[in-house]
């Protein structure tokens, strides 16, 4: 019995297998329509994330399975003081697989240690969100057909952005990857990610404050939200916020086949007028998340077609 807590729990061979399954699901959805027949997914969301929950639920339904959920947080067992460990044990009696979101870091690991069915981390605070990274990876694969020899620009909040850290970890296992880290000084990539991941894997990277300067080099631009609450003062926020907004004018300087990714939701960091550009892949990325969750559910349940 296996769980997915951190994207690095999957080796590159397993990532390849998930991508292969997801691509086959996209081409032949009918083949997969009954693969999870009579199987139940429990979605345990201790904090709201409607989009992620719906993606998991849609994934299970499209595999022919069923979904059971905790309803609103107020009536849940958590509000009565039940531990994550106990909840995981009990829900294991009802479901074949659990997708769990929790505001505390490490909650999914506690669940996985206590559950008797696979647990998928659907976000544990600011720590990990591996199925988002799976969505990112499938989007990259569909755009380029490879995970190697890519120049990847990461833009915005690189300090607190867990999706950024996970993507860096996942891509650092491939050859020929180069990162361009685009952020204000206040939101630079933390030293431990630079040291433990980039330097350790010998991955070249440059840091810059300018999105425009970086754009012409990029194969992939991964945008994230710069949140007001990350800044000490309003002036700094106002000064910086527009420099990390992607507009059609800025995009003019980018490669014709560059892919723009964003974990969504966006606020204003990608202008709506960019949506029409064929390089905008963030809505496809949301769809890809569902396909990768389907592939993952199959893998963790040991199901094949």
């Amino acid at each position: 019995m296996r769980s997915l807590i951190d994207i690095l729990d999957l080796d590159t061979g397993e990532i390849d297998a998930l991508v292969k399954t997801a691509l086959d699901i996209i081409s032949h959805p009918d083949t997969y329509a009954d693969v999870c027949r009579r199987k139940k997914l429990a979605t345990l969301f201790f904090e709201p994330s409607t989009r992620t929950r719906m993606s998991f639920e849609a994934a299970m339904y499209e595999l022919g399975g069923h979904v059971i959920s905790m309803t609103d947080g107020a009536s849940s067992s958590a509000s009565k003081g039940e531990s994550v460990a106990d909840t995981a044990k009990i829900v294991s009696c009802y479901a074949d697989i659990i997708a769990m979101r929790h505001p505390k870091e490490g909650a999914a690991l506690v669940a996985a240690k206590n559950a008797t069915v696979p647990v998928v981390n659907a976000g544990d605070g600011g720590h990990c969100h591996p199925t988002q990274t799976l969505a990112d990876l499938l989007t990259i694969w569909r755009g380029f057909g490879r995970f190697s020899n890519l120049t990847v620009g990461l833009c915005g909040d690189l300090k607190f952005g867990r999706t950024v850290h996970s993507l860096i970890g996942a891509l650092s296992r491939y050859q020929g990857i180069k990162f361009i880290l685009i952020s204000p000084e206040e939101l630079r990539l933390p030293g431990y990610v630079r040291g433990d991941v980039l330097d350790k894997c010998g991955i070249p990277y440059t840091e810059t404050k300018s999105l425009e300067d970086a754009l012409p080099e990029l194969d992939i631009l991964y945008m994230t939200r710069v949140q007001r609450e990350r800044f000490f003062n309003e002036e700094d926020y106002v000064r910086l916020k527009d420099s990390y907004v992607l507009t059609p004018e800025k995009l003019a300087g980018a490669k014709g086949d560059m892919a723009v990714l964003h974990p969504l939701p966006r606020v204003n960091e990608i202008s709506v007028s960019v949506d029409r550009d064929p390089r905008a892949k963030y809505f496809e990325q949301a769809a890809n998340g569902k396909y990768m969750r389907m592939a993952l559910i199959m893998m963790l349940l040991g199901l094949t077609v």
């Binding site: 929790h102 505390k104 870091e105 490490g106 690991l109 506690v110 544990d124 431990y192 040291g195 350790k200």
Partner: protein, 138 residues
């Protein structure tokens, strides 16, 4: 208790000068479990200065704690006035309930019954197995 000679007990020697008190506290020797002597800033040929902890009772200590605080410290086990075992601990792979995770967003901060577990990383640091927060040195 005679500080110089112990008949049955443990002498933790070669503690890096300045770490003796911390080790004493983390080992929970402050209670009345056993007579304990702490010697701080003892002259040492090899180390210049070192700290020593002598425990004058046949009790067991958590060697992981010693390895965490000072992997270079040596543990001497004394029985009937004779040195029967002398070992260096080194850094343990895992620390269970030795230190607490201080990350307020960590699951251990709100679920009291969970063990606080840290793993040794390749860089020789300790990180919480739940949230990956680095253990602070003191």
């Amino acid at each position: 208790m005679n500080v110089d000679s112990i008949r049955n007990g443990i002498v933790i020697d070669h503690i890096t000068s300045g770490r003796g008190m911390r080790l004493f506290e983390l080992l929970g020797l402050g209670g009345e479990t056993a007579p304990v002597a702490i010697m701080l800033g003892v002259a040492s040929r090899k180390m210049g200065k070192k700290d020593i902890i002598k425990i004058d009772a046949d009790i067991s200590v958590d060697v992981d704690v010693i390895g965490f605080v000072d992997p270079g410290a040596t543990v001497n086990v004394i029985k009937d006035g004779k040195l029967i075992e002398k070992k260096t601990i080194g850094k343990p792979e895992r620390l269970t309930n030795v230190i607490k995770c201080k990350n307020p967003r960590c699951i251990t901060s709100c679920e009291q019954e969970l063990d606080h577990v840290f793993r040794l990383t390749e860089r020789g640091e300790y990180r919480c197995v739940y949230c990956d927060t680095k253990a602070s040195p003191n």
